[in-house]
């Protein structure tokens, strides 16, 4: 019952968020700041995770290839497909749910408990639209960039690890990366990313905006935002995969 009530409140929140900004100049200015805050500032963690995960995927695949019937380029192919289909859009989004989700929930939650949101409301500002829409827009613009960046680095990490371990040559790896490439998989990955980005930011904003109490409650809201955001990503991943790959 409580979950249903929260879901209803979340939908009502979105109906207020998606309204015309009071001042477009402020909206674009805030969107640029949010691109920096939730996008550009996430580049280091995405780069680190992607490079190492790509390296590990490649090494694990290479170590499992015992059958002589499997062609050498299989390592590159598996690295490519697992990166594009799952690792970059989903795992990176789960990491961003932790980093960006907690950041957004604590920022908005702190504004709530220090009455800054009340101050905006009393001035006549639509606080939900003012605070949340730039964050969602920034996620829409920049999460796909992060995921493409992650795909590239993951495949680079795979190549680097195989080269260092002397398990394959650059030519064979690149051949594997290019084999059976399906451009629709990129569309699928970016669609997932857009949905995940929206879920991460909107769910975190919801928990932050409706927090009641003090700093402890802001901490709790951040944790709830990360947990709920991650669960929403997993459910959405399943639904989107069913809809886009199997139907």
């Amino acid at each position: 019952m409580n979950l249903l009530k929260q879901f209803g409140q979340y939908i009502l929140m979105l109906s207020v968020v998606f309204s015309r900004p009071d001042r477009w100049r402020f909206f674009w200015k805030h969107t640029l700041l949010e691109i920096e805050q939730i996008g550009i500032n996430s580049l280091p963690i995405v780069a680190l995770m992607s490079t190492f995960m790509g390296a590990v995927i490649a090494l694990q695949t290479a170590s499992s290839m015992e059958s002589p019937l499997l062609p050498d380029y299989t390592v590159g192919f598996i690295t490519q497909s697992s990166t594009i289909l799952e690792f970059s859009p989903t795992i990176i989004s789960l990491i961003l749910a932790g980093k960006v989700g907690s950041n957004v929930a604590s920022e908005i939650g702190t504004m709530r408990v220090t009455e800054q949101i009340d101050a905006l409301e009393i001035m006549g500002v639509n606080s939900l639209n003012f605070l949340v829409l730039p964050k969602i827009t920034a996620a829409f613009f920049f999460f796909p960039v992060l995921v493409i960046f992650s795909m590239a680095l993951s495949m680079f990490g795979g190549w680097l690890s195989l080269l260092v371990s002397d398990l394959t040559t650059t030519e064979i790896y690149i051949m594997g990366i290019r084999s059976f490439f399906n451009p629709f998989h990129i569309t699928y990955a970016l669609t997932k990313t857009l949905v995940f980005g929206f879920l991460i930011v909107s769910i975190a904003s919801f928990y932050g905006y409706y927090v009641k109490g003090g700093s402890l409650d802001v901490g709790r809201a951040s944790t709830q935002a990360v947990v709920s955001g991650s669960i929403a990503i997993l459910i959405a991943n399943f639904i989107l995969t069913q809809l886009m790959l199997l139907s």
């Binding site: 009071d22 220090t114 009455e115 800054q116 009340d118 101050a119 009393i122 001035m123 006549g124």
Partner: protein, 255 residues
């Protein structure tokens, strides 16, 4: 003038405001006083629209705020300035940006005009030259003064101050009180101050509403409150040893 007509409010089935009926007069400092947890802040939040009352009406100069939609309320809110208990300054903005924010958001003033207005407001609260400080670099008293500067930047018709002296030393409290009183008289605005500070009551209380157990218990001015015989008011006014001592001395003098 703000009229509150039969306002009631409950939270989770528990009634916290009972049928409040009151008029906050223009050009005066109207105080809402009472002990903690009696419904002062809830009443103020109902008036400014942060809470919706279940019953009753709020009228800002005959305009019924309770029946308005979001856009109409937004227009009225641009006539309201509010100083929050913790100042509620936007901590990512400088002092100057905080004051400029409502002007940039709701007026079509040029950059130069906005700068001039912000400088004027900061000078009015004796903070000239502190434009570039961040709220975290300001003392409690300075933050309150920035809050006042931000509240008056749009030339409000109504000013709300939620416990403006909380956390301040007595001397700074008087500075803030006097500032609120001066601004009220200077711009002929309707000011509503929520407080439980007796010094403020005696300093600026033109018109006082005493709330007890969510009900309007008493109204009067700073002179009549001293002689009020109501036991709840008496226990509120003479709660401190200092006030008790004053009463004893006055009684001795009278004899």
């Amino acid at each position: 003038m703000i009229e509150v007509k039969n306002v009631s409010k409950s939270f989770n089935g528990q009634k916290v405001l009972f049928d409040i009926d009151h008029v906050f007069e223009e050009g005066k400092v109207n105080l809402i006083i009472g002990q903690s947890g009696q419904g002062k802040s809830v009443l103020a939040k109902c008036i400014v629209g942060l809470y919706d009352p279940e019953e009753g009406q709020i009228l800002f100069d005959q305009r019924n705020f309770t029946n308005m939609d979001r856009a109409q309320r937004s227009a009225i809110r641009q006539e309201i300035g509010m100083l929050f208990q913790g100042a509620a300054l936007f901590d990512s903005m400088t002092v100057e940006q905080n004051v400029m924010f409502p002007l940039q958001m709701f007026t079509n003033m040029t950059k130069a005009e906005i700068q001039t207005r912000a400088d004027f407001c900061l000078e009015r609260v004796n903070l000239a030259g502190r434009n570039k400080l961040l709220p975290s670099e300001c003392s409690g008293g300075m933050q309150k003064r920035v809050g006042i500067a931000r509240a008056i930047s749009m030339n409000p018709r109504y000013l709300f101050c939620d416990e403006p002296n909380s956390g301040l030393d007595p001397k700074t409290s008087i500075v803030i009180d006097n500032l609120i009183q001066d601004i009220t008289q200077e711009y002929k605005i309707t000011t509503v101050v929520i407080t439980h500070d007796m010094n403020s009551v005696m300093e600026i209380g033109d018109h006082i509403l005493f709330i007890h157990q969510g009900k309007k218990w008493w109204e009067g001015d700073r002179h009549s409150i001293i002689n009020a015989t109501n036991p709840e008011i008496e226990s509120f006014v003479y709660a401190s040893s200092f006030m008790k001592e004053i009463r004893t001395q006055l009684q001795k003098k009278a004899l």
